[in-house]
Amino acid sequence: MCLAIPGRVVEIFQENGLIMGHVDYSGTVNKICLEYVPEIEVGQYTVVHAGFALSVLDEEEARQSFAAWQELVQAVAAQGTDIFGNPLEK
């Protein structure tokens, strides 16, 4: 019930007065209510719960967090110590 995988919006339309869309999960396409993400555009990814999209996934933020993690592990490895100064396992 609370598990969700990101899906890509492939179509947006109105139905019974609600903003709806078709969302593609690697080939499986479901009809999803987009009322809670009215700003979403075709091609963007969303997290869906029980038939409702709850967020527009932020690609820029995702890139930044990856860059930060990569930087972190590389910086630590270069130092040969962890962030507390303990020597790294060889």
Binding site: M1, L18, L54
Partner: protein, 364 residues
């Protein structure tokens, strides 16, 4: 970016694990409150890769598991009425009440139908004006906005034959109750990423400060969970206790305001019984009085159905993180997913089902 593969990168996961091993200097207990996290941890074997000093305990974050027996009994009583089409997400159908389940009711002739969205239930009400369509509105803050919108949509369309059997629960009051318990062992929390997608994390800031626990809203892929654990661990090691967001691609501090507005329009906060735990103050959502016509409990007068919990099943201790699933004498013996004694073994998100499915014993 596909938002999945990148977060399943074994190299990055390995680096984060190495970082966790380097960071931990003494024993810590971190709770992942969400059943989705529990399953991701078990499925990917993350619990077996972590250093022994970092103990993960599983929280009560499975809405199916904490739905009281009497709520299941009320659902079965409503479903048994000939005029009713009873609709539900699939994971509630097998949950045992005191004598029956929705599946058993269906096998004896009740019109019980599984849906993937509450809007499907609204469509059934539209198509069958001669029937009463009831939707079983369970879940945390993740499903409440959709269920609330379904009710408002029925109201907008003038459908008087649609109602919700509402049994929603809230995460922050559960964290507060667990942290207030004299038996509490938990020192840090991974907060549920999708609950926080809806609600933001402002509610968690006072908990982090008051109880001196790091709280990290976390995503559901292996890299997310390891990064969330590392963030909580760093705070613990450094003596910091704040809310720190791991899941920035989906979660903002203020959350989804439109979803929060609909929740406030449809539901009001009440004390709520959690299966296996007891009543937690201000931890549930019920339908507001001005929408009583859409409240199946009132419409079908089932509030008086009350039952006691079984003494055999120790899911309450499991849900509070006091014992691991295999610490229950019935685990894997009298209690299996095929013959569950309690909801933690029934639900796809239950900790007992995760331990059983992934052959996990905590002393292995």
């Amino acid at each position: 970016m596909k938002f999945v593969d990148e977060y399943r990168d074994p190299a990055l996961a390995g680096q984060l694990l190495a970082e966790i091993r380097q960071t931990v200097t003494r024993p810590w207990v971190i709770m992942e409150i969400c059943g989705g996290h529990t399953h991701a941890i078990m499925k990917n074997g993350l619990d077996q890769l972590l250093p022994a000093q970092l103990e993960l305990v599983h929280g009560p974050g499975c809405p199916v598991c904490v739905t009281p027996v009497e709520t299941i009994d009320r659902a079965v009583a409503i479903a048994a009425r000939p005029e009713v089409i009873f609709t539900s997400f699939g994971d509630m159908l097998r949950v045992p009440g005191s004598a029956s389940s929705l599946f058993m009711a269906k096998s004896t002739g009740a019109d019980v139908r599984m849906v993937y969205s509450p809007l499907e239930a609204v469509a059934l009400a539209r198509q069958h004006p001669e029937r009463e369509v009831v939707f079983f509105a369970v879940g945390f803050e993740t499903t409440a906005p959709g269920n609330g919108m379904a009710l408002l949509q029925a109201k907008r369309e003038g459908l008087t034959n649609f109602s919700l059997l509402a049994s929603h629960v809230l995460v922050p009051p559960a964290i507060r109750a667990l942290l207030s318990s004299p038996t509490n062992r938990v020192q840090g929390y991974l907060a549920p990423g999708h609950v926080c997608t809806v609600m933001g994390w402002q509610e968690y800031e006072s908990l982090a400060e008051e109880f001196r626990v790091p709280i990290v809203p976390t995503g559901f892929e292996p890299v997310d969970i390891l990064a969330g654990l590392l963030m909580a661990l760093r705070q613990l090691e450094a003596g910091r206790y704040v809310v720190e967001n791991q899941y920035g691609r989906s979660v903002s501090r203020e959350g989804n305001r439109a979803a929060q507005r609909v929740m406030a329009e449809v539901f009001t906060v009440r004390d709520r019984a959690w299966r296996g735990i007891g009543v937690l103050p201000a931890s549930g959502l019920v339908i507001r009085d001005d929408l009583a016509g859409y409240d199946a409990e009132r419409k079908f007068a089932v509030e008086s159905i009350r039952v006691r919990e079984s003494e055999l099943c120790q899911s309450g201790s499991v849900l509070q993180g006091l014992i691991k699933p295999d610490g229950c004498p019935a685990f894997g013996r009298e209690c299996t997913p095929e013959h569950p004694l309690g909801a933690t073994m029934v639900s796809g998100e239950g900790a007992c089902a995760a331990y059983y499915r992934y052959h996990r014993t905590s002393h292995a």
